[in-house]
């Protein structure tokens, strides 16, 4: 019966009417703007202030002189104070294109993927480009969720790729 099949394939759920619904069906019927997927746009620049790096590092309880000690950092491997790796999360950027995903009653950050190429240094001007890289449905033990993945590429004023980051936002029905 249907319930036995469901234990075999977690991606298949049974709707109230008893019809089988797959994540593909969810995507086929999802109300969203697929035309923005894969379209990269400029979302602004951020001037990296040394005092912000130091305040951020202190708030985290970091102790490395690379982040906190200007004199030590200047003679160190990077020639300036550098930022802890996740510092880019503080940048205030434009949101980029909106796929207008109409699903569920609540949304939140589900996770983040980051690749690090060049450190961010005090005094850098970082420019950012963002795209919605994918929208997909996934069904787990708490029901069906729709993920929107946004990929942002951060480049410094020397044209070097510093960081590529993907933020996963999820929409779902609030827990009853």
């Amino acid at each position: 019966m249907a319930s036995a099949q469901c234990t075999q394939a977690s991606a298949i759920i049974v709707s109230k009417g008893g019809f089988m619904t797959t994540d593909q069906d969810v995507m086929d019927n999802l109300d969203y703007d697929s035309s923005v997927v894969g379209v990269e746009v400029d979302v602004g620049t951020h001037k990296v202030e040394q005092e912000d790096i130091i305040a951020y590092a202190k708030a985290l309880g970091e102790t490395s002189p690379l982040y906190l000690d200007e004199a030590a950092a200047k003679v160190g491997p990077h020639g300036a104070i550098i930022a802890p790796p996740l510092f880019y999360n503080l940048f205030h950027l434009e949101p980029g294109l909106d796929p207008k995903v109409n699903f569920g009653t609540t949304g939140f950050d589900a996770g983040q993927h980051a690749e690090f190429f060049e450190p961010i240094r005090a005094g850098d001007t970082i420019s950012a480009k963002t795209q919605v890289s994918s929208v997909y449905a996934k069904t787990g033990r708490t029901g069906t969720m729709v993920f929107t993945v946004r990929r942002t590429t951060f480049t410094n004023q020397r044209g070097e790729k510093a960081i590529v980051m993907e933020r996963r936002n999820v929409r779902r029905d609030i827990k009853k």
Binding site: A55, L60, G61, E62, L90, H92, G111, Q112, H113, F116
Partner: protein
């Protein structure tokens, strides 16, 4: 700071724990430098209206603790190359967080010593608040 080398590590080795006990003052300092006004990070009242018992830490603040674990471990000559985490449970000021990693793969790719790890943050209740994977490049002794 002592430097760890690729010759020092093996599959299954633990990294950490780095124990973090973020305070309300640290959270306030973090949201101030960020310039965020998101209520669940700054106001107990708003956090409670959203079903939490009080303010919670931004996911990217907890994620940064894993960044600290890995950058302190790999040293000045090592490099954190990749970090991927899922935010599973909320973290609050006053929680005691065990940030740890375990080495799952070691390989040399284009003369780079790449070490892959599972990483996670466990609260004092033994619940995993964050979990994910990371890749770090370590120097060789020779």
């Amino acid at each position: 700071m002592s430097q760890i080398y690729i010759e020092d590590v093996d599959l299954g080795d633990d990294v950490g724990p780095l124990v973090k006990e973020p305070t309300r003052n640290q959270l306030n300092a973090f949201t101030k430098v960020w310039g965020t006004s998101v209520g669940r990070f700054t106001s107990d009242e708003v956090a409670k209206s959203e079903g939490f018992t009080g303010v919670i830490l931004p996911g990217n603040m907890s994620m940064a603790f894993l960044g600290q674990l890995l950058t302190e471990w790999c040293g000045y000559e090592g490099k954190l190359r990749r970090l991927d985490v899922d935010f599973r449970r909320s973290v609050q000021p006053g929680d005691k967080l065990n940030c740890t990693g375990i080495i799952t793969d070691i390989e040399v790719v284009e003369q780079e010593n790449q070490v892959t790890l599972d990483v996670f943050i466990e609260t004092q209740k033994g619940e995993r608040a964050l979990q994910g994977t990371a890749m770090v490049v370590l120097p060789s002794k020779s």
